[in-house]
Amino acid sequence: MKKYAEDYTISEMMAAVCSLQINNDDVAFVGVGIPLMAGAVAAATHAPDVIIVYEGGGVGAKSRRMPWTISDTPTTDNALAATAMHRVFSDQQRGFITVGIIGGAEIDKYGNLNTTAIFGENGSYHHPRVRLPGSGGANDIASSARRTVIVMRLEKGKFVNKVDFITSPGFLSGPGAREKAGLLGDGPCAVVTDRGLFKFDPETKEMYLEAIYPGMDVEQIKELIDWDLKVSPDLYVMDPPTEEQITVMRTLDPMGTVLGRKSLRGEIEPFDVYYNSLKKSYQGRAITL
């Protein structure tokens, strides 16, 4: 029987929920942050045969350490293949990538994502209030992965009626719009937030609330969203992460590098602490090849 964790952070909950969007037979493209952790957790728990693909070119790595980005050295530790970025994106455009998991900073009800710039009141693309990183591979994943999962925090002003810049296409203007634009993938299938899980209506393509996390409130969620959010008639409360999931996360990410437990607080670890912590985490995790 599953044992649920009692002590967990909301980032860990998000990573756990996100990991369950990955199936054992998926070939999964995972982006930086929580998606990276979701991929690692899925592979270590319910989806041992999943092939995780990283944008830099790593395929099916099996490592004692956690990738911190989509192109660092763990992405090819004991990998099935180590190849080029253009190659894995071509493979995605050909249809070999069954699921892509990406983050966002601003989203609308059709799942269109902005990670390029928040223009602000008198701002523009070239002179925005907040410059963001840009697409990275997110546009390509949102365009061509067979399905996509979006991960982002539910904060006021981020779930908007119209994003300033469509970096990564969701359903664009609604039903039929992706097909008309010529996009290959089926579009977003879920949005994992820090309060609940959202899905998309197959007819209207509109995002709706599918489930909430323990202790969360539907009305509070609706207040954080600019449009008139629809809620599933079968709304349910999701299970917390399992102890197994939490153990995996903390073993792989002892310093909270990926899930931000420390960097959010702005702490800088002394080099020797860093070194010893990594050494210890390697020893704690044997890999069978």
Partner: protein, 310 residues
């Protein structure tokens, strides 16, 4: 066989100039920080930077005012924080405004691939419906003459110079790369000048033991620079792991303009060359980073043999 070895100082002096178009290969792993330091020390300005995704080196070059324009998919510091320097440049024009031509990782790779293949463009089904098309006038959408509907044409890029860091190369520039390749195979072929920086220059006979591992052949290479630990504080597969505490200090300094100027005074202008930088980082620390990587991955030994033992 041509001997293309030179120092980093010589290579940057010869192959970069004010107003050039520049690419620096790879992402996070094998992204040569030492190249950024030397370009800054040589005071290059008005560079157009062409890349896919870029992290610490670009942040520093932006802070130093070397760039006037970036054509890229992603400009940020990953893992440990955000891109304070690129934000300051775009949002406040400090030290100078930078115009960003947007791409995605795939299409940023396709323009290098087109440049490398000697064709004017490559087609894709990425970007359709997105605002990357709105703000990137170079990309044309046509109706596929074969009937698949809209297709975006990504025009070729041929940067003046690319710097690519690899694990090993011979003195003529035959390069073998371990781990993910990013878009480096095509980036090298797209550029007009290619400077290889490498952890180790090896005899050509080592290269010949496993020719399938050669990603970049000598006929595309202009110069070869031996530059061990050339990516610190970033990582190189099989060689050394990331120095995140160092990067955290860099990001902390980047929060303010004064902070990053002081950081550059100390770490870029405060040393004369990469050797001095490494001394300042500390050889013990570098050895530990090497150990952290090599606990997990080392470049394998290739035992090449024939029945006759040729």
């Amino acid at each position: 066989m041509k001997d293309k070895r030179m120092t980093l100082k010589e290579a940057v002096a010869k192959f970069t100039w004010d107003g050039c178009t520049l690419n620096i290969g790879s992402i996070c792993a094998r992204e040569p920080m030492a190249v950024a330091h030397e370009i800054i020390r040589q005071g290059r300005k008005n560079i157009t930077f062409i890349t896919d995704t870029t992290s610490d080196p670009a942040e520093l070059l932006v802070a130093a005012g070397c760039f006037s324009r970036i054509e890229a998919a992603y400009i940020w510091i990953g893992v440990v924080g955000q891109g304070y320097n690129i934000r300051r440049a775009v949002e406040e024009g400090i030290p100078n405004h930078i115009e960003i031509e947007p791409y995605s990782n795939y299409t940023a790779g396709l323009r290098l691939m087109a440049g490398a293949m000697g064709v004017p463009f490559l087609p894709t089904k990425s970007l359709l419906g997105s605002d990357i098309l709105t703000y990137n006038p170079k990309i044309k959408v046509i109706d596929d003459p074969y009937g698949s509907g809209p297709v975006a044409l990504i025009p070729a890029a041929n940067p003046d110079t690319t710097f690519i860091h690899v694990q090993r190369a011979d003195m003529a520039g035959n390069c073998q790369i371990w781990g993910m390749l990013g878009n480096d195979d095509y980036a090298a072929r797209a550029a007009k000048n290619v400077v290889i920086t490498c952890e180790e220059i090896v005899p050509t006979s080592e290269i010949r033991k496993i020719p399938n591992m050669t990603v970049i052949p000598e006929y595309v290479v202009s110069a070869v620079v031996e530059l061990p630990f050339g990516c610190h504080p970033l990582s190189v597969t099989g060689c050394y792991w990331m120095d995140n505490p160092f990067r955290q200090e860099f990001i902390k300094a980047s929060r303010t303009r004064e902070g990053i100027l002081a950081w550059m005074d100390e770490w870029v202008f405060g040393v004369e060359n990469h050797e001095q930088y490494l001394d300042k980082v500390g050889r013990d620390r570098l050895a530990k980073l090497q150990e952290l990587e090599q606990d997990n991955c080392m470049i394998p030994e290739i035992i090449w043999r024939t029945r006759e033992g040729m």
